[in-house]
């Protein structure tokens, strides 16, 4: 019989290693149990990974399609399939204001409605671009999903991003936003900007959520809005977003078909039977301009537009569902532009860009 030599030193090391591994296993199990009891956990290797698009933009057709496809997948996975999703940001290089606010609004809506027994439904990996990492931290995305980021926002074009959310006409939040921008805004614009913001918020509670959003999630809205302010390239950009039914659906509900046709005729777009979404936004803007006595409601865009008129130079852009209406005032002349896309943001985004120096908007 062969005698087994016992290497006592090796056995001791192995025992220590086994003991160490057991300690780690127990510690991990304890941590997992604690996390489960707090509502986290149940993440498996099979959980879907969604790649965030290269650019978060809404104006360029291709960028918009990629962003909307990504956001829809995020929405369907979390709100309908009730699954946890990992968002991979390794491809993301640029985050424009409107696209970023749209994404953040969708994420916040998901977190409110899908945060169940499995904890936060979204996690995030591979934020490779430093600027993107700074933006995600600055706008509160990291905090919202409970992600610990070690990147400190330091870049001048990031640290001025401010994100605020609310429900209904919250004048205090509009006032705080205007106050925070006071040293960047011409004094004459403080009041028009406040008026424009509170009217956009009022529209959210009065019109935006009159019916179910066409995303199949079955979530009832109650006047929620999300807002950004950003200073970049010499522009002050303020953006407000709602995830409701959009102006093309709400305008006929509030004004009736006859009034819509009348407004279409006024803006010279009554030639087709089915109106494009951008035409409907233009009609809503026209309603704001009109002095129709019977139009008590739905005239909030009058104040939204007045910000640019008061500034004497700037850009108002309204995205709603598939349409985009732009109102540009520059060098004493005014230009309107109507644009339509094949996909819908299922909501409304209002963007004011006021050049603090004479530069173009970043989106």
């Amino acid at each position: 019989m062969r005698k087994i030599r016992v290497d006592r030193e090796r056995l001791r090391r192995l025992s220590n290693e086994r003991f160490r591994r057991r300690l780690i296993r127990e510690a991990l199990k304890k941590r997992l149990d604690a996390a489960k009891s707090e509502g986290y956990g149940h993440r498996t290797a099979a959980e879907p990974v969604l790649y965030a698009p290269r650019v978060f933009g809404l104006l360029d057709k291709r960028e918009r399609a990629q962003l909307l496809e990504f956001v829809e997948a995020l929405r369907v996975s979390t709100l309908i399939r009730k699954r946890h999703v990992r968002v991979n940001f390794s491809r993301t290089e640029r985050m424009a204001s409107c696209g970023t606010l749209f994404f953040l609004s969708e994420v916040k809506r998901i977190l409110v409605n899908a945060w169940g027994p499995t904890g936060c439904p979204i996690s995030c990996v591979h934020v490779l671009n430093n600027k993107v990492a700074q933006v995600l931290r600055q706008i509160g995305f990291d905090d919202a999903i409970g992600r610990r980021s070690y990147v400190q926002p330091t870049d001048a074009d990031v640290i001025h991003w401010r994100a605020v959310a609310g429900v209904g006409a919250e004048g205090v939040k509009a006032g705080e936003m205007v106050t925070s921008l006071r040293d960047k805004l011409p004094p004459a614009l403080s009041s028009p900007m406040y008026d424009g913001l509170v009217e956009a918020m009022t529209n959210c509670v009065q019109h935006a959520y009159e019916d179910a959003r066409a995303d199949g999630c079955g979530i009832e809205g109650a006047g929620e809005w999300w807002m950004f302010a950003q200073q970049q390239h010499g522009n002050l950009t303020v953006v407000l977003c709602d995830l409701g039914i959009g102006i093309p659906r709400s305008l006929p509900l509030t004004q009736g078909g006859g009034r819509v046709e009348e407004l279409m005729a006024r803006i010279g777009r009554a030639t087709t039977l089915s109106h494009k979404d951008s035409d409907m936004i233009g009609a809503a803007v026209e309603l704001g301009r009109s002095r129709l006595q019977e139009a008590n409601r739905g005239k909030g865009l009058q104040d939204v537009l007045a910000v640019i008129d008061e500034a004497g130079e700037g850009l108002l852009r309204v995205y709603s569902n598939r349409g985009c209406y732009s109102y540009l005032v520059k060098g004493g002349s005014m230009k309107e532009d109507y644009k339509d896309f094949g996909d819908s943001i299922l909501g409304t985004i209002i963007q004011w860009s006021i050049p603090l120096v004479h530069e173009q908007s970043n989106e």
Binding site: A169, E170, G171, Y194, V198, G300
Partner: protein, 107 residues
């Protein structure tokens, strides 16, 4: 009931520096609430009501229309009477015209 005197109402001091929204359901400092809780009681007790607009952050159209246009639309105050008994005090002349326009629109 009127006692024949004048009442001065400052929106910023007596109501809120952050007026916003049309209906009570829109937000905490709506035009409807201002009209029903401040303006109408003042008109019931005083002949003349002077509304000071300065000091507030701003006024959305919805707030102004519901507060002043709604006064004629929803309460038993004629536009002529409202124009006679309400005085708008503001350093912004266009704001005065806007408010008067909402009241006149109901004539």
């Amino acid at each position: 009931m009127s006692d024949g005197s004048k009442k001065i109402v400052s929106i910023a001091e007596d109501y809120s520096p952050f007026p916003a929204g049309r209906f009570r359901s829109d937000g905490p400092f709506s035009g409807e609430k201002f009209r029903d809780e401040i303006l109408v009681p003042a008109l019931k007790s005083f002949d003349l009501v002077e509304v000071k607009m300065d000091g507030a952050f701003g006024f959305g159209s919805s707030f102004l229309e519901e507060a002043f246009g709604g006064l004629v639309r929803r309460h038993a105050v004629s536009a002529t009477e409202a124009l006679r008994r309400i005085r708008i005090d503001s350093s912004d002349e266009s704001l005065v015209e806007e408010v008067m326009g909402y009241i006149k629109a109901k004539q």
